[in-house]
């Protein structure tokens, strides 16, 4: 069952990832990315990250990507044009190199973690909102506050950029 879910959503994620790169229209890319995020959220759930899965959907899919879609719609960005201005040679060599590199990394990962037992749903129960909140507001309080300041700066920056005629 765990394996089935993993394969299902991993393949969805990979498929959507490829689609993100290859689709010519930004909004198609955006929807592919949402697909990746959604399937990753399921995988997070499987790994015991229930809070982070919800946060993934709320923050990434529900806020950030809505912003992307909004901007794409606002700019009415059209398709990129068929030619990627990439010679066939570069395209195929690039794909080959990417595949080779991914293979290498997979090999290294397998070599580094040779005998890990399988993932079992429910084996890790620490990802509840309670646990994350505990850590976040004790050990990680300072980073938390710093990120809140960062968000504030980002809001101000976005306002300044959007408002003033630059």
């Amino acid at each position: 069952m765990t394996a089935l879910i993993f394969f299902l959503f991993a393949s969805i994620a990979v498929f959507c990832g490829i689609s993100l790169v290859t689709q010519t229209h930004p909004i198609a890319s955006a929807l592919s990315l949402i697909g990746v995020m959604g399937s990753l959220a399921i995988l997070y759930l499987q790994l015991g990250g229930e809070f982070i899965a919800a946060a993934q959907v709320i923050v990434y899919a529900g806020a950030i990507m809505v912003l992307f879609v909004f901007v794409i719609m606002l700019l009415n960005a059209g398709a990129e044009g068929t030619s990627l201005q990439m010679s066939n040679f570069a395209k195929y060599v690039g794909i080959f190199l990417l595949a080779a590199f991914l293979g290498l990394i997979s090999f290294v990962i397998q070599a580094m973690l040779p005998k890990t037992e399988g993932v079992v749903f429910g084996a890790f129960q620490g990802g509840t909102a309670l646990n994350i909140g505990r850590k976040l507001f004790t050990i990680y309080l300072l980073p938390f506050e710093v990120t809140s300041v960062l968000i504030l700066i980002a809001i101000l920056g976005a306002m300044v950029l959007a408002r003033r005629e630059i």
Binding site: L31, V57, G62, V66, M73
Partner: protein
């Protein structure tokens, strides 16, 4: 595999009841608005138009599904599907009543319980915007695009006060699960005031309701589909079942937010009166309604009333009898009482939605955004701060 069968049964019941409710919700809305505006509303199909939803469904299904030639087909077809799926999915974590034992099976009156049920609902509602935005964009029509744009901006803006308003009862109850939230609200202050979150969180409740109106694109925040500016907004290019899907999504969203409001603020299925008295309330109500119907049946104002009203009265009396039966079968009583109170609260809130639609004018777009960011958002923030203060002070 017991779990699967049980879930399947529950899912089937919930789906059936929910879809019927959605269909009839529209009938109720039309009726209520008609009566508020001194009209009769749907009247021809069935007694008092009761069969109107059925007729509508048949009409929508059999209609020709026109796909305009200039649309982006994939997304155009995907949008209503996304909208209705996301609208229906969050009902899965809504509990309708307490744990019950029917024969050998002990189960909750809920499809599934998540530790993070409330977050789940928030997450689903946060991606619900894609249906509308996508539909607006894929239609390749400027009115639809404007509707889609408005809806994205509006929904992300109002999601902030909504989430913050939700956070306050979470702080009080210290849980993210709907069940525990309802359990937290059980009991009574001074023996008769129900310990619902709505009392300490009255501000949060109001903010939640306002933001919920905006999230569901209802009047007075129905800018995405403003008929007189945008023709019909994001669904201007849709017809037949695809159009119906958007409609269903809207009503399903309404049901979801009212259910969440009920669970978070109004104590879920907890009765507003202490135990022995609350048991008699539904019987009294149904008996009274049945008697009134019978009485009017004996003095018919219209031709058909001679037949329909006594029948209705008898049905009401029958329902009262079933409630009465509950005194002898504890399980039945638990189920019925929970359903009665839950649906009663839900109904009141839904009526509020309809009422507001019939009375309030629409906002202008800039007013809408300013209202969200400069009033509702700070208000919910203040409310959250106050709640946090209360919790911090009372926890010692």
């Amino acid at each position: 595999m017991d779990f699967f069968i049980l879930s399947l049964i529950k899912a089937a019941i919930i789906a059936f009841v929910l879809l019927t409710t959605l269909a009839y919700l529209q009938w109720i809305e039309r009726k209520v608005i008609a009566h508020i505006q001194l009209r009769v509303g749907p009247y021809r199909v069935g007694p008092h138009g009761l069969l109107q939803p059925l007729a509508d469904v048949v009409k929508l299904i059999t209609k020709e599904g026109v796909v305009p030639s200039h649309v982006n087909k994939v997304f155009y077809l995907m949008a209503p599907f996304v909208a209705v799926t996301l609208a229906l999915i969050s009902i899965a974590v809504i509990p309708f009543g307490p744990e019950i034992t029917v024969g050998p099976v002990t189960t909750w009156m809920q499809l599934t319980d998540l530790n993070i049920g409330i977050l789940f609902v928030l997450a689903v509602s946060s991606i619900g915007v894609y249906g509308v935005a996508l539909g607006g964009w894929a239609s390749n029509n400027k009115y639809a695009l404007l509707g889609g744009l408005r809806s994205s901006a509006q929904m992300i803006s109002y999601e902030l006060p909504l989430a913050l308003a939700v956070a306050s009862p979470l702080l009080l109850a210290n849980t993210l699960s709907f069940r525990e939230m309802v359990n937290y609200q059980s009991g009574y202050w001074l023996g008769f005031i129900p310990r619902w979150n709505v009392w300490p969180e009255i501000l949060g409740f109001v903010v939640f309701l306002i933001a919920a109106f905006a999230e569901t694109n209802r009047v007075p925040f129905d800018l995405p589909e403003a008929e007189n500016e945008l023709v019909a907004g994001f669904h201007v290019e849709y017809s037949s079942m695809k159009f119906a899907a958007f409609f269903m999504a809207e009503y399903a969203n309404m049901v979801t937010v009212t259910a969440v409001a009920t669970l978070l603020f109004l104590g879920g299925w907890q009765p507003p009166f202490p135990e022995p008295y609350s048991d008699f309330v539904p019987i009294v109500i149904f008996v009274a309604a049945g008697l009134v119907a019978l009485y009017h049946g004996l003095h018919p104002a219209r031709r058909m009333d001679k037949f329909t009203l006594p029948a209705t009265g008898l049905i009401f009396l029958g329902i009262a009898a079933i409630f009465g039966l509950g005194f002898f079968i504890p399980v039945l009583k638990t189920i019925l009482m929970a359903l009665f109170w839950f649906c009663g609260k839900l109904g009141i809130l839904l009526f509020l939605f309809i009422w507001v639609r019939a009375t309030l004018p629409r906002f202008r777009y800039d007013q809408l955004m300013r209202f969200a960011w400069t009033f509702l958002f700070p208000l919910s923030m203040v409310n959250l701060l106050i709640t946090g203060l209360i919790v911090a002070l009372s926890s010692k």
